[in-house]
Amino acid sequence: MNELLRRANAAPVTFLCALAYVTVAVLTFADTEPAIKLQNAGLMTPALVASGESWRLLTHAFLHGGIVHLLFNLSALMWIGPMLEHSLGSVRFAVLYAVTAVGAGVAVCLWADPRQAVVGGSGALFGMMGAAVAMNMRGGRDLLSFLDFQGPRQLLSLIAVNLVIGWLLPMVSNTAHIGGLLTGFLLTFFGFDPGRGPATAFTRALRAGVAALFVSLCCWCLWPVTRWDWLLRAATTTAEPARQQLLFEAAQRSGLPAPGRPDPDQGTEPDPPPPRRGR
């Protein structure tokens, strides 16, 4: 117990995340209808995010779809989290977890079906691996000198193997993994560990561009003005008939699914696909 407390004291944010994983899992798995419980607790679908529930971009990273899913992510968190928290510091690590979880959610909002449900912290875990790669790149004599060492090479292999597994398993959302990975890498490379010496004009412009890109994509997830689900919702809430007609037409042009095509007077949506999760 003392050893556990000592380790928790050394990496408090990691242990808080782990505690949150377990607590939320106990609350959701204990329910007779875990799917509804997951939805209430913070499961993410692009359509829900676009309808104003933006907090789901973050909360989905603390929910898990089953005991195996939970154990897998928990072990990965306890493996990489303490190391990274020790290197970055607790505050930066917390920011990294939150931003990479949002980055994973943003990637899903951009590329997945609007009704696709996503749960799991694996996007943020991939973000941590991306951050570790960025720190290795920044820490060496030059950006590629880390490849001379076995540890970082194994980390790259681990990322590649996990991405391949993600492609092979249909229930895994590799989009979230890639989104988290890129977000973690870019945040650490440009934000947390920007390299030695004063920044050049190019570096400043690129850093500002990456930040603007992240904010812009987050805004797109909240107001995806050319996605059929958002257009449909806008059509059902607008009072102006001409505008409503335009919005329905735009929704149809933007790929409104045919089987459950709604009646414009009722505004119902088609059936959603089955939920996806992390590893």
């Binding site: 030059d142 590629l144 690129l206 812009s216 919005l247």
Partner: protein
């Protein structure tokens, strides 16, 4: 150029949602159409680019050689460390010497930070005007910055003071500068002298061929191109730059009808 293209691309992607939102305010249908049109254009451009790349790789030798050179340069850029340059700049705060300015200039030139390189190499030459090494570095920095006449002056002084400087590279670059300035006869003379004294390379013979062609000497141009296009010896692997010049020489030979 490539770096700023990357910055522009990142900003363009960042502004794209805003553009769609502004169009949406006017007409939702137009916004959807714009997005679909952009996606279609992107898809077509990607397919066309991939097709051109495959055709180029199969039929046009400079494409493969150029890709190899691009890869080598990207790796070199990733391998470039700014630490030594910052250390050299830090050392200058204590004592100012020509050697320290020269080191800053050399490292800045390596990193293509040309204004910094030119400033420090110029100061180094003020402190030590007879140093051909510093003058050669300044000539190369001026050449990279496109200041041809000043570069020619520098390299001329280097060749006069030390004819074999940098294993003939100063002479070769002087010939190239003359070619770029339009002094074709002077370029031919300098590049021939380089070939005689230092043996030449595929790069130097490609430039010699260009100078001969400009000086209305087609036979000389063809002979130089044939040298530049010659295959490497067994077990010899050309550097990426030499490979690109060989590929370009092969294409130039095909164009002149002198065979493959």
């Amino acid at each position: 150029m490539f770096r700023w293209t990357l910055v522009a691309a990142v900003w363009a992607v960042a502004l794209w949602p805003l553009v769609l939102f502004l169009v949406y305010l006017g007409s939702p249908v137009a916004a959807v159409q714009l997005r679909q049109q952009a996606a279609s254009w992107l898809q077509t451009a990607a397919l066309a680019g991939a097709a051109l790349l495959v055709i180029g790789l199969l039929l046009y030798p400079p494409v493969a050689a150029g890709l190899r050179l691009l890869g080598a340069r990207v790796l070199a850029a990733l391998r470039a460390d700014r630490g030594p340059l910052l250390r050299a700049l830090g050392e200058l705060r204590h004592v100012e010497t020509a050697a320290r300015h020269g080191e800053v200039g050399r490292l800045a030139l390596q990193r293509r930070e040309l204004p910094l390189a030119i400033a420090h190499l110029s100061r180094a030459l003020e402190l030590e005007p007879e140093n051909p090494g510093l003058r050669y570095q300044l000539g190369m920095a001026l050449l990279a910055a496109g200041r041809m006449r000043e570069a020619a002056g520098c390299l001329q002084q280097v060749v006069a003071a030390d004819p074999g400087h940098a294993f003939g590279e100063a002479l070769l670059q002087l010939g190239r500068v003359h070619l770029l300035l339009g002094d074709d006869q002077g370029a031919v003379a300098l590049l021939r002298r380089h070939a005689l004294e230092h043996g030449g390379s595929r790069r130097s013979h490609f430039w010699l061929a260009s100078a001969c062609r400009a000086a209305a000497d087609p036979d000389g141009a063809r002979a130089a191109l044939q040298y530049a296009a010659s295959p490497p010896a067994k077990n010899q692997r050309l550097t990426p730059e030499e490979g690109l010049y060989r590929a370009r020489a092969r294409v130039a030979l095909w164009r002149t009808g002198a065979g493959k």
